[in-house]
């Protein structure tokens, strides 16, 4: 991938910080403004999209920046979702605590299963993460007494409260989603421009060379995967608390494929790409599922088309051709 050579060879002072900050804050401002103009249906869709985009941004940290093609990110999302949901259901722990517990659970899964999976690379890493995620999915079924398996459960309304505000209220929900989204977006941006981000890109481009330069590659990868899982888990926990439903379908392989699809579409290794991909795919699937039950056909066709013709995604291509400063 040639874009990173550009990133690596540009002196750190060169990217126009004001322009980059302006673009990202501008996106956040537009999202804030949309709250006041969107009709109900798109309002709730966008709340969902912003939370799911956090999942995608987390995936992008692993896949886009560090080159870790995981097929098991649903386990991190599900860890956040179920941890937050289960403590709300059985321990009466309300939103802020449940959210943190969800994030911690995802980090724990990354530090255990992820640490094991990182012992492998390439295709083996894909299969091992796939297997681990499958095991997590089956474990959710196995403890069906608590998780209620496929059917799932509804998070009690009394637990969906943050600082005295009702998370089921559309305005509160939208603003909470936006706050989480802003944190993940600015976090990704800061990471992409930090030394850590540059080392991760270096590892993605040439692992042996990074190792030769003295970087502890395994540790950097584990850091990246854990940060990625933290974002995915935060998205999962927020999804459960904001939308009030926890179910096993969120742990299925489909939810490991979706972030890959979103990131591929928007542009792997770009800060705004995951959000763009999530918006486009969400509405594409939404429109198709109105027409046919076989809406996953679109997912398949888009995956094939992207990998064949636009492996760099939309923003990756835009950066290559028009806006080389895009982070």
């Amino acid at each position: 991938m040639s874009e990173s050579t550009a990133v690596l060879s540009t002196p750190p002072a060169a990217p126009p910080t004001a322009r980059i900050l302006g673009l990202h804050l501008g996106v956040l401002a537009v999202l804030f403004a949309l709250h006041f103009v969107l009709p109900d249906y798109h309002h709730i869709s966008l709340s969902r999209i912003m939370v799911l985009a956090c999942f995608a941004m987390g995936y992008n940290l692993a896949f886009g920046y560090s080159g870790l093609l995981s097929l098991g990110h649903a386990m991190f999302f599900a860890a956040g979702l179920y941890a937050a949901g289960l403590v709300a259901q059985f321990a009466d722990i309300a939103a802020p605590g449940g959210f943190l517990i969800g994030v911690a659970a995802a980090a724990l899964v990354a530090l255990t299963l992820g640490a094991i999976a990182l012992r492998t690379g390439g295709v083996s890493f894909m299969i091992v993460t796939l297997m681990f995620a499958q095991a997590v999915f089956l474990i959710i079924y196995y403890f069906g007494t608590y998780t209620r398996g496929d059917e799932g459960f509804v998070v009690p309304d009394a637990m969906r409260v943050l600082l005295g505000l009702d998370l089921a209220d559309p305005t509160v929900r939208y603003m909470t989603a936006l706050a989480l989204f802003a944190a993940c977006l600015m976090g990704s941006l800061a990471l992409a421009r930090s030394n850590l981000g540059r080392v991760l890109i270096a590892i993605r481009e040439n692992e042996d060379r990074a190792r030769m330069l003295g970087y502890d590659v395994y540790r950097y990868k584990l850091t990246a995967l854990t940060l990625s899982a933290v974002m995915a888990g935060a998205a999962g926990a927020a999804y459960g608390l904001l939308f009030g439903y926890v179910g096993a379908s969120f742990a299925s392989i489909q939810y490991s494929i979706y972030p890959l699809l979103w990131v591929l579409m928007g542009g792997a290794g770009t800060v705004l790409g995951p959000f763009l991909g999530t918006v486009l795919m969400f509405y594409l699937v939404d429109l198709t599922s109105a027409a046919t039950t076989a809406y996953l056909l679109v997912v398949g066709l888009v995956l094939i088309a992207l990998i064949l013709f636009f492996p760099k995604g939309i923003l990756g291509t835009v950066r290559e051709r028009y806006l080389p400063w895009l982070p």
Binding site: I127, M131, G300, L303, P311
Partner: protein
């Protein structure tokens, strides 16, 4: 029933599963061995084989045996053609890059599965077995068709072995597997070998499905379990080792059959998936493989 006969029944069920698994996983293993790619759509080729078998069998309504035999010929041919099409239009253009191929075959998985959902529908449909009698053992009766499945799988495996070791085409495949560049230098049409191997791999999945469909109904989501089990088998058997694949299929199929009779199938699956992941981490060459992939 006493433990002995019960165990015998479980073993017979396991052997049927192992036979179908060996044929299906061999297809995946062949593709991985020669082309060095992981085909995530393998389970959908299996499902497509089963659906086409139902379609052929229901078109030919003369006698179940005629329909079954026709399916045994038509289904792998159709599925093989679909595979060639997919290989030529998508995989060859990706230059068989391992990671891009996985993403593309995930795409194919959805396309095939959803296309079947749109045309065949969400129902599960049975295919009549070609013959219908039970062999009466002292403790229980057992379907003769299931025993035929085991026999047919053995014949198929021997045919693949013969094809790979005794024919010119097999020699080309093995040459490509060992060293693609040298094979090309010796005027072996590597591109066509790749397309052929991908088709044979898919056809084997379809054959496994035709064998199983009189016992298990055809359904558009039926590709999931064979895919997972084939993955497990190929990894345990050692990536690229055909002998290891067959050996692993027997062990996994038998133990899967026996364990799911005596224990919770979910627990068995959890243990199996975790064990396989650990095998891949600790011994990337598989339990029976000799060289690193």
């Amino acid at each position: 029933m006493d433990f002995g006969p019960y165990f015998l029944l479980a073993s017979l069920e396991g052997a049927v599963g192992a036979a179908v698994l060996a044929v299906t996983a061999l297809g995946l293993s062949l593709v991985f061995g020669v082309m060095r790619i992981v085909n995530v759509a393998h389970g959908e080729f299996f499902m497509l084989g089963a659906v086409i078998a139902w379609w052929v069998a229901s078109l030919i309504g003369i006698h179940p045996a005629v329909g079954f035999l026709a399916a045994l010929v038509v289904s792998p041919l159709v599925v093989g053609s679909v595979a060639i099409l997919a290989e030529r239009t998508v995989l060859s253009r990706l230059h068989y890059d391992p990671e891009a191929t996985i993403v593309a075959t995930i795409g194919m998985l959805y396309v095939i599965q959803q296309a079947v959902l749109m045309t065949y529908g969400p129902e599960a449909r049975p295919v009549q077995p070609p013959f219908d009698f039970r062999i009466q053992l002292p403790w229980f009766g057992y379907s003769a068709y299931k025993l035929f499945v085991i026999l047919a799988a053995v014949v198929l495996l021997l045919a693949v072995w013969w094809g790979l070791t005794r024919t010119r085409l097999g020699l080309m495949m093995r040459a490509t597997q060992i060293d693609r560049e040298t094979a090309r230098a010796f005027a072996i049409p590597v591109d066509r070998v790749y397309a052929g191997v991908f088709a044979v791999g898919a056809a084997l999945a379809a054959l496994g499905a035709v064998l199983v469909v009189p016992v298990q109904q055809a359904h558009y989501l039926m590709g999931h379990d064979p895919l997972l089990l084939s993955f497990i088998t190929v990894i345990i058997g050692g990536l690229g080792s055909l002998r290891g694949t067959v050996l692993a299929a027997v062990i996994i199929g038998m133990s899967d059959g026996i364990i799911s009779v005596f224990f919770s199938p979910t627990l068995a699956k959890i243990i199996a998936t975790l064990a396989v992941a650990m095998v891949l981490v600790a011994r990337p060459q598989g339990l029976f493989g000799e060289r690193a992939p």
